[in-house]
Amino acid sequence: MIISDSKLILEIKNLHARIEDKPILKGVNLQVKEGEIHALMGRNGSGKSTLAKILAGHPSYKITEGQITFQDKNLLTLEPEERARMGIFLGFQYPVEIPGVSNLEFLRVATNTRRSARQQEELDTFEFEDFVHSKLEVVQMDPVFLERSINEGFSGGEKKRNEILQMALLEPIISILDETDSGLDIDALRIVASGVNQLSSPQTATLLITHYQRLLNEITPDFVHVMADGEIQRTGGSELALELEKSGYEWIDRAVKVGESE
């Protein structure tokens, strides 16, 4: 939802980044205001997931140029945990399994960390149990998954639901969902999408990273950006996604080539 005088939450300016010696991002610019839903599309290797990980503070990438501002703070000097406490959430494309660490305990520690960063009272075990059960409904998740180790033995769909559950518990200001739709059947996709829709609010924003139109049938974006070769090449409304669906990414590639020859 676009409101003209809404506040800027996230601003990325001329961001260049590399992993080892390989440049991945080559000048990304993006502005996200509260209440907005952005979709970031593009082929594999265009830099979408890199951008998502950089926003969350992944240590493998080196920023060579540019800046990221989140709620008027320079994000690049902050540790991943500090960013999370401020309200940045990354829903992983491939959530890792962490054997031995109880999912419930993990969710409780994470929730309380975020709560105390917001000067809210921490929840004790019993209070948290009630809180987490109320959120389970959002993603229609079976409580048995709370008793397991983090993501261990979860199916692809269960892992993604666990991601959205974390989003529900942490109440982030911006949620970056990295290919949350990949590997989901249509029912799981609907559940996940409905979770995201329920959690959207005029004070928060969402950045959806996806290959396909089908997620955008369930969640309507205000803006669609198309990434190629480490830059955002096109920005438009939701109709841009439909156009991509129809004509594929090739016309973007052509546009990139034209740009290079100029």
Binding site: A56, G57, H58, P59, S60, E79, P80, E81, R83, A84, R85, F89, L90, F92, P95, V96, I98, P99, G100, V101, S102, E105, F106, V109, A110, T113, R114, A117, S149, I150, Q166, L170
Partner: protein
């Protein structure tokens, strides 16, 4: 990894127990020979049988070679360059704590083991051993009301010579191995526990071993006997000051359970492990063995091994009584240049005996951590079962982990199960937890304690939390 938190940099908070107590000590001169052994025995006013025991052991030891099959690799130990007896002066066992040198009380208080009546732990009886002697044992009278004997082994030798003569060396014979023979010859002090028939020991028993002198070996000897249908839970803790030389520690622990008796023996070993460059630290060579003599008896070892430069230790169970049970739960953590070669032996002799082994090895820094274990099913062990699980966790990319399970079965109607796994704390796992607001060190410690949970569940309640904290402390800065 980002600058502040590189896993390699957060290593080691300073070793909290590294202080030296400045106290007048009586020490023998360096070296070992028959004369030294006679002197130790004389010093302790021992009966003749014990002197003979020591001398026999010394003869055996002189003929033995130091074992070298473990994955340890350490410079040769010069056994003539070690002091075999050191004791605080005026070390006569005091009838009341008021007479104990306040410096010693202060030392133990600093270590978190207050001994004075006002401050002592409320449900744990403690035997405090300083260098070669026991300085105090708490709650002796209360335990005596139940017929439980808990005292230093030197005291037991004088007061209960028959029990000592009967049981000492009956589980670990004097010629069992090089280090056990050495210990049998020169052992200085340690604890003795006797639980009479039908008695459930009313409180936790605990021994705390403190090495204070840098050039003195510590050779403690512990003997626990649980008579029919009795039970006891016993915990030992160990610390030492920081010296840049290596100190030798060679202990022997013997446990005996008769019919329906059970002993739970827990260790939190935190000897000084040397500095980040691997200089200094304790060489820890320990022989621990339990003998389930009686039917349906049970011996359970649980250990958290975090200290020492070198650890060589295989707490074992001889399952002789029918339906007897042996257990071994171990967490061994090595960091920097520490080396540990540890595991267990489960020797199934009687019918329908059962054993469980759960070993968790964590290697960080440039350390090496090996599990070495034997499961043996004898010809008469029909219907016996073993289950072993050995997991290793690697932190960083310069540590190593090895598993050497030995299995021998002479009984077709027995079963042995062995599972093993190795994992590594990955950057992706850490990033995942961090991206949910959990700090780097807390993330590491969550994963490590998750990994160790099966073992921590076996520790006495008060110590499980301690062990968790100890691991977190040891690991600070080890991930990188």
């Amino acid at each position: 990894m980002s600058n502040q938190n590189s896993i390699g940099e957060i290593v080691s908070k300073p070793y909290k127990y590294g202080f030296v107590t400045d106290i007048e000590t009586e020490k023998f001169s360096k070296g070992i020979n028959e004369e030294v052994i006679r002197l130790i025995s004389e010093k302790k006013k021992e009966p003749k049988f014990l002197l003979d025991f020591r001398l026999r052991a010394y003869k055996q030891w002189s003929k033995m070679n130091e074992p070298n099959w473990a994955e340890l690799g350490y410079p040769k130990i010069n056994y003539q360059d070690i002091i075999y007896y050191a004791a605080p002066k005026k070390s006569e066992k005091k009838s009341s704590l008021d007479e104990v040198d306040p410096k010693l009380l202060e030392t133990f208080e600093k270590l978190g083991i207050p001994l004075s009546e006002q401050k002592r732990l409320s449900n744990v009886a403690v035997d405090a051993v300083f260098d070669s002697v026991s300085i105090a044992t708490t709650y002796q009278e209360k335990l005596a009301e139940h017929g439980v004997i808990f005292c230093s082994i030197s005291e037991a030798v004088i007061k209960y010579p028959d029990l000592i003569e009967k049981y000492l060396g009956s589980v670990v014979p004097i010629n069992d191995n090089f280090f056990a023979a050495l210990n049998s010859a020169v052992f200085s002090d340690g604890s003795f526990v006797f639980i009479p028939k039908g008695i459930e020991c009313p409180m936790e028993l605990s021994s705390y071993f403190r090495i204070n002198s840098g050039d003195t070996g510590q050779f403690e000897r512990t003997l626990i006997v649980a008579e029919e249908a009795s039970s006891v839970s016993y915990l030992e803790g160990c610390t030492a000051p920081m010296f840049d030389t290596n100190t030798l520690h060679a202990a022997v622990v013997e446990l005996i359970t008769l019919d329906d008796a059970s002993i739970k023996y827990s260790t939190v070993q935190n000897w000084y492990s040397g500095n980040e460059e691997g200089i200094g630290g304790i060489y820890n060579f320990v022989t621990k063995r339990g003998h389930c003599r009686g039917k349906r008896s049970k011996i359970s070892w649980s250990q958290v091994e975090t200290g020492s430069a070198i650890t060589w230790k295989y707490p074992s169970c001889i399952l002789q009584g029918k339906e007897s049970i042996g257990e071994f739960y171990s967490v061994a953590l090595t960091n920097n240049y520490q080396k540990a070669d540890t595991g267990t032996k489960m020797i199934h002799i009687g019918e329908n005996t059962r054993s469980t082994i759960v070993s968790k090895g964590i290697s960080a820094g440039r350390s090496s951590n090996s599990y070495r274990g034997l499961v043996q099913m004898g010809p008469n062990s029909k219907g016996s079962k073993n289950y072993s699980q050995c997991d290793s966790m690697l932190i960083g990319d310069q540590a190593s982990a090895n598993t050497y399970p030995y299995i021998r079965s002479q009984q077709p109607q027995s079963s042995i199960e062995h599972e093993a796994s190795t994992c590594r704390i990955s950057e992706e796992q850490l990033f995942y937890l961090q991206s949910r607001g959990i700090g780097f060190e807390e993330a590491v410690s969550m994963m490590v304690s998750g990994f160790c949970r099966d073992v921590f569940n076996e520790l006495p309640m008060e110590f499980a939390a301690e062990a968790d904290k100890l691991l977190a402390l040891k690991l600070e800065g080890s991930v990188g």
